[in-house]
């Protein structure tokens, strides 16, 4: 469904993404992990058209290389951001409507916006300004707005970062529900190995922009190279 072929991104002399290729299958929950600065978020920024790059990205058999971000959103790729982004000038409901009005194929669909408010449980906050939401609320808002574009694939960038154990559980439930009930393919960048082994079917591990391995999460987590470069210390925490 989503296929990256030899993508490379240079920031000056730094290769943030280095000749990376991978493919996400339809219906999957696909994990991406790697140490800080490995280039995970940059991969998202390339897929969603925020930076130019070398190589090629295909989505649903169509070449989307070089398209501007808003066209990629309309094509059915939605994303969230590692550092939560909101529209402080807008209410929760209006923010989610933005995704529907501008990103969804048929334009504004108020019934769908209502369903999403319910789905991400932000109904009681619907008239609130988004700046007043707490961290979990902001993350749910980003997901809600992304879902309002009626995407085929949703890419989450560290959705668990900063959440407590209870909230992580709720977020995992939500992600599963998006995948199973809404039948949306999911890509997730995550540091917590437990979350990845629980949620994902395939796990891509990258370091300094290059692929270390790509396998079922249990297998990937036991890859000696992976343990050495990334999991060595994190594994103890989980």
């Amino acid at each position: 469904m989503l296929k990256a072929v030899n993508i490379t991104k240079r920031f000056g002399s730094l290769k943030a993404v280095d000749n990376l290729s991978f493919e996400v299958q339809k219906g999957q929950i696909y994990g991406i992990a790697g140490p800080n600065g490995a280039g995970k978020s940059t991969v998202y920024n390339l897929i969603t058209g925020f930076y130019p790059y070398e190589g090629k990205i295909e989505f649903d058999g169509r070449d989307i290389t070089g398209l501007p971000p808003y066209r990629i959103a309309k094509a059915g790729i939605a994303r969230t951001f590692q550092i939560p982004k909101t529209f402080p000038s807008l209410s929760v409901q209006r923010s989610i409507s933005v995704g529907s009005r501008f990103g969804a194929p048929g334009g504004l669909d108020s019934a769908h916006v209502n369903e999403i408010l319910h789905f991400v449980s932000l109904e009681t906050e619907r008239y609130q300004k988004t700046g007043l939401l707490n961290l979990l609320g902001k993350k749910k808002l980003m997901i809600g707005a992304a879902l309002a574009t009626k995407p085929k694939i949703l890419m989450l960038d560290e959705p668990m970062a900063g959440l407590n154990a209870l909230e992580i559980k709720a977020m995992m439930g939500l992600i599963r529900k998006i995948n199973s009930d809404l039948e949306i393919t999911i890509v997730i960048i995550e540091h917590f190995m437990k979350v990845l082994t629980d949620l994902t079917e395939t796990l891509l591990i990258i370091e300094t922009g290059r692929m270390i391995c790509c396998d079922a999460p249990e297998i990937a987590a036991n890859n000696p190279q992976v343990i050495e470069c990334y999991l060595g210390d994190t594994y103890v925490e989980c």
Binding site: P68, Y70, A145, A148
Partner: protein, 336 residues
């Protein structure tokens, strides 16, 4: 501000201004003040739309006003175009120039947009006073001295007949205010706000930054150019003095006093600033010292201008809203 309070605010403010001539129609000076309030309120409103709502730090507002004025003056003087047609064409010319100035601004960050647009403003003076301007009929540094009045069905509108001109200006002001409200409250306005708040988030949801930023340049410069044209047919003369710092500063005072991004507060800003400038006129150049001090005071004490002050004095619904949010927040924390 929601749609209902926005419309009420505008209806009351322009309504009160609109009935003034019934009482003071004989006073030349007051009629002049009222007419200038109408013209500047729209020019300042457009600045608030592009700067306050779209978050684009365009300093080209006076430049667009002047381009509209010169376009209509040149068209009607040199080419004998009927003023009503010339005014519409002036609006369209200004919109095109606005879009051209907007193009390089799309990828730039705030302060650089201010630099680019102000550089454009600065370039207009030598352009209109130099040989290039003369060639297109700007009259060089002497300017254009006999801009014809607006003629509609045989009736002439200019500063010779203050009351009729006032009502023509009011008519255009109401139409343009309606357009501004419609834009701000539609999804176009939402797109402007979303792009201002977080461009990354906005484009990831399908908003084209390119399209909506150029649109805001196009629409605001059209209306600004139209009012520049209205102004020039009103005063009948035009020179590069309109490009002076005074006009620019006065306009800036209006939106700071009204509250940036607090439309329609800027309309009160225009009422206040035009009146104050007129009352302080006996002080000569020193009135700008007072006005300048005022701006500093407003910025420090009332970050949201008069609008913020009104909100503080009459809390009303807004206050209730934020209170219920706070209670809600604490109940959430209780659960979490």
């Amino acid at each position: 501000m929601n749609l209902k309070s926005m419309v009420t605010f505008l209806a009351v403010t322009y309504g009160l201004i609109g009935i003034m001539p019934l009482f003071v129609g004989d006073s030349v000076i007051i009629m002049r003040i009222l007419t200038m309030i109408l013209i500047w309120s729209i020019v300042a409103s457009c600045w608030d739309v592009i700067m306050g709502f779209a978050g684009i730090f365009s300093f080209g507002q006076v430049a667009f006003f002047v381009i509209g004025a010169y376009s209509s003056a040149i068209l009607s003087v040199s080419l004998n175009v009927p003023p009503v047609v010339a005014m519409l064409m002036a609006g369209m010319i200004t919109a095109m120039v606005g879009v051209l100035v907007g193009l390089p601004c799309i990828k730039l960050a705030g302060p650089y947009i201010a630099l680019v647009t102000f550089a454009f403003h600065m370039a207009l003076k030598p352009f209109f006073s130099g040989p290039l301007g003369k060639a297109i009929g700007s009259g060089g540094s002497r300017g254009i001295l006999s801009v014809p009045p607006i003629k509609i069905f045989g009736m002439a509108f200019s500063s010779a007949e203050l009351v009729p001109f006032f009502y023509l200006a009011l008519f255009l002001t109401l139409i343009c205010s309606g357009v501004i409200v419609a834009i701000l409250k539609s999804y176009w306005g939402t797109a402007f706000l979303a792009l201002k708040d977080s461009e990354d988030f906005a484009v990831s949801l399908g908003i084209s930054a390119f399209k909506y930023k150029l649109m805001v340049f196009g629409i605001t410069s059209f209306i600004t150019g139209l009012f520049g044209a209205l102004y020039v047919h009103y005063v009948g003369i035009l020179s590069i003095r309109v490009l002076s710092g005074q006009v620019f500063t006065t306009l800036m005072i209006m939106i700071v006093v009204g509250g940036i991004g607090q439309y329609p507060g800027v309309v009160l800003g225009a009422v206040f600033t035009v009146t104050a400038e007129q009352l302080l006129r006996p002080l000569g150049i020193y009135r700008f010292v007072i006005m300048g001090g005022l701006v500093v005071a407003v910025v420090l004490l009332l970050p949201d201008g008069i609008t913020g002050l009104i909100r503080k004095l009459f809390p009303g619904r807004q206050e209730k809203e934020s209170r219920s949010i706070e209670t809600h927040k604490s109940s959430l924390e209780g659960v979490g």
